[in-house]
Amino acid sequence: MPVLGTRWNTGAVDKAERLSAIAFALSGKVLDASRLVDVLERLIRPGDRVCLEGDNQKQADFLSRSLAAVDPGIVHDVHLVISVLGRPEHIDLFERGIARRVDFSFSGPQSLRLAQLVDDGRVEIGAIHTYLELFGRYFVDLTPKIALVAADAADAAGNLYTGANTEETPTIVEATAFRNGIVIAQVNELVDELPRVDVPASWIDAVVVADRPYAIEPLFTRDPAEIDDVTILMAMLAIRGVYETHRVKRLNHGIGFDTAAIELLLPTYAEELGLRDEICTHWALNPHPTLIPAIECGWVRSVHCFGGELGMERYIAARPDIFFTGPDGSLRSNRALAQMAGLYATDLFIGSTLQLDRDANSSTATRGRIAGFGGAPNMGSDPRGRRHASEPWLALARGDDGIARGRKLVVQLVETFRSSGVPTFVERLDAVDMAGKAGLAIAPVMIYGDDVTHVVTEEGVAYLYKAENVDDRRAALAAIAGVTPVGMERRDERTNALRAAGVVAYPEDLGVRRSDARRSLLAATSMADLVRWSGDLYDPPARFRSW
């Protein structure tokens, strides 16, 4: 029975009311930048759910700085939904009482201040999500009322061009616009004609020209000059012990020097092993500059990107056979779709972490910091919904009862100690204690041990998926954990049995000579080398230039 008097369009009515309250600052869809703080004070009501575009790379910082400047007497107790809580003013929102609750994924640079705010009772954390979970919840129970996003350019009608750094913009806008929310986009410039339309005008309520181009970080740039021999040894072990062994073609590399070293060994070490076309052909990957030599040598067939990378724009535009690019020539990235690709369409995820326990649970949360995680838990997990087979995936199948299925290869690549005194392998993750202090329902484990199939250290490879039981798993991990507390439990007899069974492999078992691990193996040993490989198309940010 319909209830008399029920209205079904309260969202649209509310939206119309709010838009009329800010009409004074709008000329068409173009918002007067000088009145932005005033607009935000009239638009946002206490308790509203606000999505601020804080991505892994791109940041809607004109909007976030303006939001942090509103009067907390007018705008307070906002529920912030944001994937990367990365800028100082994001934290200021809580210190000033403008925002009260947050649902997020990653807080890297602000992890220390966030932990302090939690201690002080100034912020409630709803949950720490993976990117895909958070995006998913934008369409279920965390739909934003207001979205504040960033784009490269807009036209007067309100169409957006997001260039190489599309990242999350379409996902946030879609969730908000189709639920009667209000979308404001900051743009670097207004133009008459856009190179391409990434978000259509009818999804956008207002555009505002920012005081300066949006902030963006070259997160995925690693200088080859900083890669040392130990990292090269680990990369050699990963190539022989995992990539070659399982013929891994479709993959994602996590961020860091360890994976950069693998990329730089493809055209040299892996080429000598005859692995071209056998491994590493299809990628879900940010545009890592260290992949340039492999691309130039013909190793790579395709790369789909989560975001852009500063300095890589011209190189990517000149390699449209490799990257996803628009008709205008520039990269089209999309974090939600790349995460989905990384979850379902790749066969391997490999990445580093700060701590691993004896069951291979991993975490980047360390004492006094609430860092969260980005995409690693999505890509570093076995998607049980997967229904397509591939050679490496099938190779990990257990049992032969006719319905055996494969597994994604989830590889943790870590040096046994992070610095001379800090072991990577620990008895107990700091994340466990941190969860209690922060009032989280679960410990922020980045990758669960039961999803980890391989661990690679400078000591060797543990094929955890082959272990028959928990004891064998722990013994295999101890066998490659060096002189850490976990590694000191290694027993020679047990280790030899595991080596014979192929559950543990040391360098000599894989045909890797430790003393061959030298920087001369790298296809590029400096940023200048990468620029040369790119035919001068790669243009590194100033901080990476020594010339």
Partner: protein, 95 residues
């Protein structure tokens, strides 16, 4: 600064002197020379307080490689992984 000495009896003498690495942040220098009987490794490290980690690292190296040699290590905060790798590199040259 801390000095750590690890000794082990027996072993096959290395045949020549070797020098690898450099004293730079996160790195170390290893000097290896032949000795009549037994191995003696002397570490000078800029980082205090990690003697058990050093001992475990060096003892594992000597277990894996029963050599007779005098080895000097000048360390500037290298990880155990880097220590092991430099020792292996020095041994390769000294054999």
């Amino acid at each position: 600064m801390q000095r750590i000495v690890v000794e082990r009896a027996g072993g096959v003498p290395v045949s020549r002197r070797a020098h690898v690495g450099a004293v730079a942040s996160g790195n170390l220098e290893v000097l290896c020379e032949p000795a009549g009987a037994g191995a003696r490794i002397t570490v000078e490290t800029s980082v205090d307080g990690y003697e058990p980690v050093w001992r475990a690292t060096l003892e594992r190296f000597l277990e894996r490689n029963p050599i007779a040699a005098t080895i000097e290590i000048n360390d500037f905060g290298a990880t155990p992984a880097m220590v092991s790798l430099r020792l292996e590199q020095a041994l390769e040259l000294a054999r």
